[in-house]
């Protein structure tokens, strides 16, 4: 090879994509030509860097499929408008059918890829329910849940009479507003 190979040939050579005869000829030229050797070297470095630069961003297949489906539908509707409601030729129909089938297939793949994994809730070993009296009232508590009947309408905490009876607890006081005796009970089952 007396003349320098073109840049495209050198790029293909750098990527190992030339046929065997042409590769042998370029190889001989590059071995003797420092200018072309430098150019091949630059192509090689660039090629090494390209995969990093060109790495595709994370794709939401569901979103992509939805957009594609919407675009296809839009295109079909636009076509209908342009045709003015004329009957569709078989050839065109086949293309549309293919597009729809393709998008459905894409949707299916997207669904399979994005299929949500069923969450398994952790099994909580809850503390058995218990009854308790406090200054504010009586409560039945089970794990992190509770129900408290409050003595807020008693005149004073000392005016409340508590009694534990079997699986129930009772608080009795006179409601300061109504004057009636109120008896609150909570039960643990």
């Amino acid at each position: 090879m007396t003349t320098h190979p073109s840049g495209a040939v050198l790029a293909l050579f750098a990527g190992g994509e030339l046929g065997s005869v042409l590769r042998w000829r370029v190889e001989r030229h590059v071995a003797a030509c420092s200018e072309c050797r430098r150019e091949v070297s630059e192509f090689s470095e660039l090629r090494a860097a390209v995969p990093v630069i060109m790495e595709p961003p994370e794709i939401s297949w569901t979103k992509l499929a939805a957009e594609m489906k919407a675009n296809i539908r839009l295109g079909l509707e636009a076509g209908e408008c342009v045709n003015g409601g004329r009957s569709v030729r078989h050839g065109v129909f086949s293309v549309r059918a293919l597009a729809v089938c393709g998008s459905l297939a894409l949707l299916l793949v997207a669904f399979l890829l994005e299929r949500p994994t069923p969450r398994v809730e952790p099994v909580e070993v809850s503390e058995p329910a218990f009854l308790e009296s406090s200054v504010s009232g009586i409560q039945v508590k089970s794990g992190d849940q509770s129900i408290i009947l409050l003595n807020t309408r008693a005149r004073d905490a000392r005016d409340v009479n508590y009694l534990a009876s079997g699986n129930a607890m009772r608080a009795r006081y006179v409601d300061t507003e109504t004057g009636y005796v109120t008896i609150n009970n909570v039960y643990a089952q």
Binding site: P128, F130, V140, I147, A164, R172, I183, A188, Q189
Partner: protein, 379 residues
């Protein structure tokens, strides 16, 4: 379904707002009275009720004021409402009872329900609280209601105690005049103030409350014998470890001529310093006891009780005493100790006053002696 959706919307609103949310009574509370109920619901006010997020949970402060009317033909002596919040405590329930009433037909009366729920933010939909009628007691001990909480017996006991104590104070008024009644009222208020109190925590089954790290021993009950009691407690024991007692078991004998199907034993505990207090009561399990005359039976509760005072200071158990506090016969009639027996046995200073005595003492404290005299003159 609509209420479920509304409940979910409420939970969502609480979560999004991150602050107090006013409760909507239409979606957060469900009130069901039977169609033939002798008590009608006139109005419901929940204006002060709030839901507040706390971490992954929500605290619901429900302050409900119900206005009810006696739609029957007899005076009402007591009402019990059943309150359920199934999503909070599966199987857990509560009730609010108002005894010592005297509501004539056509009259209205208020019932207040104040409760606090702590539940997960993500809990399912549906009303937070359901309120229904469990029972109404009329003059002459007639009863109406589903009685799911055995409110018939409880309200009958309160009414019998009320009649007993009203009769006592009427006798004092007749014998010693207003000044004698004043002394009785002052004595009642003093007893209520001086009555030893204790905090109790109850859990079902064995030693589930806590591990006290102290060896358990079987402690025997001593018993107070009340002269006219139709049932006598003859033996009893409980597992005791430091400030915990579990599975009280008491043998009783029916000394009356009528079959008995329910007995409740009052349970007194004395600490090492000699302070005696009412620890609770041991009721016979529903449907478990049937005592023909002369027969012996057993009252047993599979519960564990832990005693403390002054916000957690354990109270050790030195000794235990039991007494028969109520008996229900198979015909539905109820026995309660008489006033003299309570006084002579010393129980009057340990057990809580009856609801009626508590009400009369409060009338004396807030309105004076004449108001009590006027109250006692009512039939």
């Amino acid at each position: 379904m609509r209420s479920k959706v509304a409940g979910l919307i409420l939970a969502g609103a609480i979560a999004l707002c991150g602050e107090e949310t006013k409760l909507d009574p239409r979606t957060s509370i469900q009130i069901n009275f039977p169609p033939d109920s002798p008590v009608l619901q006139l109005s419901t006010n929940v204006d002060e009720s709030r839901a507040t997020p706390r971490g992954g949970a929500v605290v619901v402060d429900l302050h409900m004021s119900l206005s009810l009317r006696n739609a029957g033909s007899r005076n009402i002596r007591g009402v019990t409402l059943l309150v359920t919040a199934q999503e909070v405590t599966p199987g857990g329930k509560a009730s609010v009872a108002v005894p010592s009433l005297d509501v004539a037909p056509g009259q209205s009366f208020p019932v207040r329900i104040d409760l606090r729920l702590l539940r997960p933010l993500q809990a399912g939909g549906g009303p937070l609280v359901r309120v229904s009628l469990d029972g109404v007691l009329f003059d002459g001990f007639d009863f109406y209601g589903p009685n799911r909480l055995n409110s018939r017996r409880a309200m009958t006991v309160w009414e019998m105690e009320a009649q007993r104590d009203r009769q006592h104070f009427k006798s004092v008024l007749a014998a010693a005049g207003p000044e004698g009644l004043r002394r009785e009222m002052l004595d009642s208020l003093a007893r209520q103030a001086d009555r030893p109190r204790i905090d109790v925590r109850v859990s079902r089954g064995g030693r589930a409350v806590s591990s006290v790290g102290s060896p358990e021993h079987m402690a025997r009950f001593a018993f107070l014998k009340l002269p006219d009691s139709p049932v006598e407690a003859v033996d009893g024991w409980a597992g005791v470890a430091a400030n915990e007692a579990r599975t009280p078991t008491i043998q009783v004998v029916n000394r009356s001529s009528k079959p008995v199907d329910y007995v409740e034993i009052g349970w007194l505990v004395k600490d090492p310093q000699g302070h005696e207090f009412l620890a609770g009561s041991v009721p016979a399990a529903e449907g478990d006891l049937f005592l023909p005359p002369g027969r012996t039976g057993r009252v047993l509760q599979d519960t564990a009780l832990r005693f403390s005072r002054n916000a957690g200071e354990p109270v050790s158990i030195a000794s235990m005493t039991g007494f028969v506090s109520q008996v229900e016969f198979a015909d539905g009639k109820v026995w309660v100790p008489n006033r003299l027996a309570l006084q002579l046995s010393g129980l009057l200073r340990v057990v809580a006053p009856s609801p009626e005595e508590q009400r009369l003492a409060e009338i004396y404290r807030t309105k004076g002696l004449n108001a009590v005299v006027e109250e006692l003159r009512k039939p």
